[in-house]
Symmetry: D2
Subunit: 341 residues, 4 copies
Amino acid sequence: MLNFVNDYSEGADPSILKRLAETNMDQLPGYGGDEYTAHAKKRIRQACGCPEADVWFLVGGTQTNQTVIDTITPRWAGVVAATNGHVNVHEAGAIESTGHKVLTVPGHEGKLDPDRLDRFCADFYADGNYEHMVFPGAVYISHPTEYGTLYSKAELEAIAKVAHRYDMPLFLDGARLGYGLAAEGTDVTLEDIARITDVFYIGGTKVGALFGEAVVFTKGNTPKHFLTLIKQHGALLAKGWLLGLQFDTLFTDDLYIRIARNANNMAAQIRTALDARGYRRVYHSTTNQTFIVMSQPTIDRLSEGVGMGFLEKYDDTRSVMRICTSWATTQGHVDQLISLL
Amino acid sequence: MLNFVNDYSEGADPSILKRLAETNMDQLPGYGGDEYTAHAKKRIRQACGCPEADVWFLVGGTQTNQTVIDTITPRWAGVVAATNGHVNVHEAGAIESTGHKVLTVPGHEGKLDPDRLDRFCADFYADGNYEHMVFPGAVYISHPTEYGTLYSKAELEAIAKVAHRYDMPLFLDGARLGYGLAAEGTDVTLEDIARITDVFYIGGTKVGALFGEAVVFTKGNTPKHFLTLIKQHGALLAKGWLLGLQFDTLFTDDLYIRIARNANNMAAQIRTALDARGYRRVYHSTTNQTFIVMSQPTIDRLSEGVGMGFLEKYDDTRSVMRICTSWATTQGHVDQLISLL
Amino acid sequence: MLNFVNDYSEGADPSILKRLAETNMDQLPGYGGDEYTAHAKKRIRQACGCPEADVWFLVGGTQTNQTVIDTITPRWAGVVAATNGHVNVHEAGAIESTGHKVLTVPGHEGKLDPDRLDRFCADFYADGNYEHMVFPGAVYISHPTEYGTLYSKAELEAIAKVAHRYDMPLFLDGARLGYGLAAEGTDVTLEDIARITDVFYIGGTKVGALFGEAVVFTKGNTPKHFLTLIKQHGALLAKGWLLGLQFDTLFTDDLYIRIARNANNMAAQIRTALDARGYRRVYHSTTNQTFIVMSQPTIDRLSEGVGMGFLEKYDDTRSVMRICTSWATTQGHVDQLISLL
Amino acid sequence: MLNFVNDYSEGADPSILKRLAETNMDQLPGYGGDEYTAHAKKRIRQACGCPEADVWFLVGGTQTNQTVIDTITPRWAGVVAATNGHVNVHEAGAIESTGHKVLTVPGHEGKLDPDRLDRFCADFYADGNYEHMVFPGAVYISHPTEYGTLYSKAELEAIAKVAHRYDMPLFLDGARLGYGLAAEGTDVTLEDIARITDVFYIGGTKVGALFGEAVVFTKGNTPKHFLTLIKQHGALLAKGWLLGLQFDTLFTDDLYIRIARNANNMAAQIRTALDARGYRRVYHSTTNQTFIVMSQPTIDRLSEGVGMGFLEKYDDTRSVMRICTSWATTQGHVDQLISLL
């Protein structure tokens, strides 16, 4: 059966497996002290146009969000996110389990609005009781968002401006960053993200790697003793070179962007077909995720031939469904899907 | 200057101070192992009509909320509260600092709506991804609420029914419970609360005691090793008899209700005067708190003579202000206030 | 029956109750924003000879240890204590519940040895794997210790020197500080403690107050947003003036030291009697606690007339018992005890 | 240069890489919902002789210890371990960061002694103050230990008996389990471990896998909502089949034991050579780790040709060094090492 359920259904770009095989019996130091990791860090710093960036490799997205947010957010503070933010909804309380509240601001198409963020913080400090409340201590955004939408450069800059005005680092969850960077029409580059945010990560798990997320601290702001903190969060991989090697590969010859672009192109074809057939799309996505309002009969019919994701109830009779392409989606898959629609 | 800022501005009912003085040089066992504490527990069990209730004394409200919620809520779960709930807004993240998310449902006049709670839980378990989310694991309500409003018996029963259907204990924050029980028109008795909820507390700090909250587990459901858990939360008072003695006094000759009724009567007089003078009240409170929409000039004028509390902005030019009476409010205070209005 | 079980068996010095009664119906701002609290802070700063000291009032000892240690110890670090330290043994895991390990160094008569502390830290940083270990991040000592022993000024200075060499604040638990300051032969003054340590507290619960501990940050090193952190730990007392008023009283006319001296004098009489009768004492205490090795028959005989504390098994047939005087112990109590011995 | 530093310096058994390559473009459900994972669980249940065992796959050792201990240990309790236990020393406080104290009992050759454990628990419950202390709530042992030593079946049974007498689950850290099961002279089988312990894990990272640990709950005792708890700990791998596939391979045709036996055989050759040359060994290891007391000149000389691990200072002039073989160690490596010795 066709599978458009998510973007982590396949292994890795074959070139990654090849390098794992080639280096398999090399004897390498653990915990990221190896040359491949050093090399991957160098490539990422270059790609970010940020020679002073500090790069770390973790295994998964929730783990990364948990480790980063816990270590950049002061004890008296929470992290501000859009209400629909992954850290607020789909991480099983990983953030709160480290003692931090997720403070929410209603999002728009999954995005945090700089003005609403500003008002949230202004209201906080205007409240005579604010010392009895959870301080806004860091800002979390995802790019692309959980709805496949993208910030513009101006929007990111506006959010960063507000964040910094209230002494909060801006953290960008890039679990699907490749799909955002490769999106048609985006004016946001990796260099922009490195310049604008304080810390972000480049998702590997959903963009061509077996697993792995590259965390980038861009402003000399790595939390002190970060390796110890990673270990304390249970997030330190013994064979760290497995991460270094994958990201070194992804950042060679622009592989990361090339495979992401494939996913976006496939999604664009699907969207064209959906529109032509009169499906109602929601959220303005130019990335690998496409959201459609579907009635239950349509869902039932399609589900016989293709796996899709369920996002949420739209109304009593319809649901918002997700069609998700990935770096591994082929033209054949897409043609089959379109013929089913 | 007149002070209607809150209900914890004075010490204790004089009879409490008297007993503290009388027993001051008695040599008593620590940590609540004394006779006064035993006696106070007995009186509370009687007042609750719940001979099997298990009673504990803690020092303050946030401390009690933190200790109870942390110990009744499973590790994989959060506590459901109205968005405006004290635990969600004004406890500096005390709940999250123990690892639990506060899951919010929009309230109505500060109250949690049983239908909305039901829908929240139903939606949770209907979501295919619920294992990646924070389970609803306990329900928090306050009675009176932060807005001075009260649940009816039917409402409490409806909430308990939903809570229990989803395997959640119902916890009632009674920081101001006396004012609720003594309110005109309420159909909720202390016995009802003991019967309907799984755990609740009887607030002393705001109702006649120097400090202290009496936690009542009503269904043989005290968390195992609760004394150790209290200690671990930093909440175990060495001279526990200070708590026992105060609650023993408050539950002698109905003192707790009598002094609470005084506060409500004073508030009723104030409300009559406010209404007569055309002030616009919000929230239907029959307890000691009264909320009024006031323009800034009115606030400025009144603030010269009387301390009030600020709740929130109402619109660009007006605010919601709180006038709060207490067990210690006198007719003289009220007369002065009314002449100022 | 005679009670020498502990030093928190009575209420408060009568002058404290008197002031509570006098001020009972005053209307005061909450959370320590009142004048009595301000005044108490001023008196404590003066007594410490430390005009820039920052003083806070909490309710109990474990609560204070938990709040202070959690907020002065970095996330990647634990607190170093003598193995027998109260935070390591008798606080139900309150420190670990905030995420910090208690790192232990064997004590000598309850005291942390500066050389052992030095070696512990030196070994830590010499270990090639130290980044995988819990950093020593703060130092905890108690004065008097749990065994009634006292540090000399030179010892405190030596510990502080080691602590600061390894970038650790020195925190002194003064739950029984009065008994230490008033001890015969000590060369340690309150001013010394303020000068040498980074943060300490002056115990009220065990020295004349109903409850309360005064935390003193001596080097402009109060954790940022400490009031919020206190609240988050469930440790903020609504009627904060109850603490301020008690400490204001204790630090008027040297009351705190005078009543502590009484306890020490009573203990000295008991020790003289014990020695004369051939009891074997352990630990060199000049404070209010006296430890004696007793056989079970002796314990059984004495227990009919006097309550004592059990410290630990000494060997298969004997135990170490504690006789504890307090600010409230009278000559009559002591005479009775001596006649029993 | 020769590398005997540790047992996680190489990738994976080539058959694992082969299967990863074969299945790379399969579309599989995430989070362990795939067939390979189901199959691996089945194989492990069979190998354990425990059809009702519940098997879960996590990524790394510290992560597994943290997740399992946090979820099997009650809130009021800590986990008991030998003082040298990995969770007490080398996990950066991962256990404490979840709120649990590590309670320590001195080990013997790295092993927890059942009698000492018994005494520790008996003393705890005999202490009149035990409600103010951290309860022993679970038992942690490693097999092989951090020193390469092994428990006998009788020792494991004795520990389990004590643990269960005090209502504690027994958790066995099997990060190097293969080397223990394949050790010459051991009388402990995988079936024994499944029968005796309550939960244990089969280490993959150090025994032939790229990464991965298989957690086995043997008594119907999986913590409720364990998947959610794994997610909350940041430990849920999106592409869970990577774990399933590896363990399925390791448990096919006894691969896990065969490759572990190789490591042990290589270590045995090294030990024979060390003994013949008069090196002083410490700890009675029959597994892949060998510990030798070496003077600094010897260390310096050898370090030019071979990487070894440092365990600890032995005395002022000598250290305990570790020579560690692995599933990947070849006869050539060993011959070279022996010629250097």
